[in-house]
Symmetry: C2
Subunit: 205 residues, 2 copies
C-alpha cells in the first residue's frame, strides 16, 4: 500500500500485526480512530498499556488477575480439593458462566503442541503436579478441548500424577442440549451412547 503519511503507515503496520487483522482492516480501524475525538485513542492505548504492564498471573491457578491471588482462589466458599484443568481464561469464563462448578481452576496457558513449539515445559504443568504431590487436590477434572493437542496434554499430565492419590475425570462429551441426533458427528454420538447415564440422574439436572 502506498500511504501518503509515515505516521499512518506505521500505525497500520502495527495494527495489522494482530492475529486475523489484515492491512485493509487495519487501515479501516485506524481511519476510524482519526475520525473520533483524540480521547478515544487515549483511552484505548491507556487501557492496553495498563493491562500489559500491570496485570498479574494468580500464583495459585495462573489465571489472569489484578491481584497476586485471584478472586476465585481467594474465595473461601469454594472447594479447594476439586481442581478443573483448563487451557486459558476463556475456558474459566465459560465454566463460571454455567454456575455449576464450585471448585478451583488450574490454567495451563495452552496445550502441548509440538508443531507450534509448545512443550510441557512451556505450560503450567509442574505446579499442577506439585499440588497433587502435596495432596492439596482430591479430584482433577480435565476440561481441555478434545483435539489431538488437548488429548495429548491430558495424557501427559495423567502419566505424571497417576502414581499419586488423586481422582481424575474429564468433562462429559455428548450431544449438546437441544441438538438433533441426525446432525451429530459419529464420534460424539458414539461416546454419548457408550457413556450413557441413568435416566433418573439426567432429569435432576
Amino acid at each position: 500500500m502506498n500511504f501518503s503519511s509515515k505516521l499512518l503507515e506505521n500505525a497500520v503496520n502495527e495494527v495489522s500485526r494482530l492475529p486475523g487483522i489484515g492491512k485493509r482492516t487495519a487501515l479501516r480501524l485506524v481511519l476510524h480512530l482519526l475520525k473520533q475525538p483524540k480521547e478515544n485513542t487515549k483511552y484505548l492505548t491507556e487501557a492496553l498499556n495498563s493491562l500489559r504492564n500491570e496485570v498479574k498471573s494468580c500464583k495459585k491457578c495462573h489465571n489472569i488477575s489484578d491481584t497476586l491471588l485471584c478472586d476465585i482462589c481467594s474465595n473461601t466458599n469454594r472447594n479447594e480439593e476439586i481442581v478443573c484443568v483448563v487451557e486459558d481464561i476463556r475456558d474459566v469464563m465459560a465454566i463460571e458462566n454455567t454456575g455449576q462448578f464450585r471448585g478451583l481452576y488450574h490454567v495451563l496457558g495452552g496445550k502441548i503442541s509440538p508443531i507450534d513449539g509448545i512443550g510441557p515445559q512451556n505450560l503450567q504443568i509442574e505446579s499442577l503436579v506439585e499440588k497433587v504431590k502435596k495432596k492439596e487436590v482430591k479430584e482433577l477434572i480435565f476440561a481441555l478441548s478434545s483435539t489431538m493437542e488437548g488429548d495429548t496434554t491430558n495424557f501427559y499430565i495423567f502419566k505424571q500424577i497417576e502414581k499419586y492419590e488423586v481422582t481424575t475425570s474429564t468433562i462429559a462429551r455428548g450431544i449438546s442440549v437441544g441438538d438433533e441426533l441426525e446432525y451429530a458427528d459419529e464420534i460424539t454420538l458414539g461416546r454419548s451412547i457408550v457413556n450413557r447415564i441413568p435416566f433418573e440422574q439426567s432429569i435432576k439436572g
Copy 2:
C-alpha cells in the same frame, strides 16, 4: 462476560468499541498481546498515539499528511489544473496505485448522508468551490463511489460550480454500481479515469 480482572475487562471494552470488533474478537486480540513481549504493546500504542496527535490535514487537498502540504500537492510535476474529488485517503491510495492520474486530489472527508447526519457543511466542499471560483481548476473529476450518497454529493457540488468556467467529469462506469473504489482492480479503475465522461452526460443515464 464475567472477567476475573478489571484491567482485562477495561481493555476488552475499549478494543470492542472499534467498528466490526465484538467482545469475543476483542478478548482474542487482547489475550494475544498478553502472550507477546511488552514491547509489542508499546509499539502499537505509540504508533496509534503518534498518528492521532501528530497527523495533519493537507491545507490544499485535505488528505491525511505528515506535513502541512502533502507530497502530492507539493509535487511540481503534477497538473494543478485537474482535480480529482474523492471521499477519503483510501480512494487517493487506490487511484495513485493505478499510475494513471497526474493531477491533484480534493478529499471531501465523506459523502453527504442525511441518515448519518452528514451534511455539506461537514465536508470540504466550500474550499473546493473556492478553488473553482478562483479559476485555479480547469477540470474537476468526480470519483466518489456510485452510491446514492455519492451521486447526491456529486450533484450538490455540480450545482455549486456549474455557473463557473470549469469542465466536470466523472470516472467511467467501468466500476460496478454500488462497489467501493478501494476494492476495484487497478486496470478497471485506471481505465475509468482515462475514459471519464462529462458530468451532464452521466446524469442523463
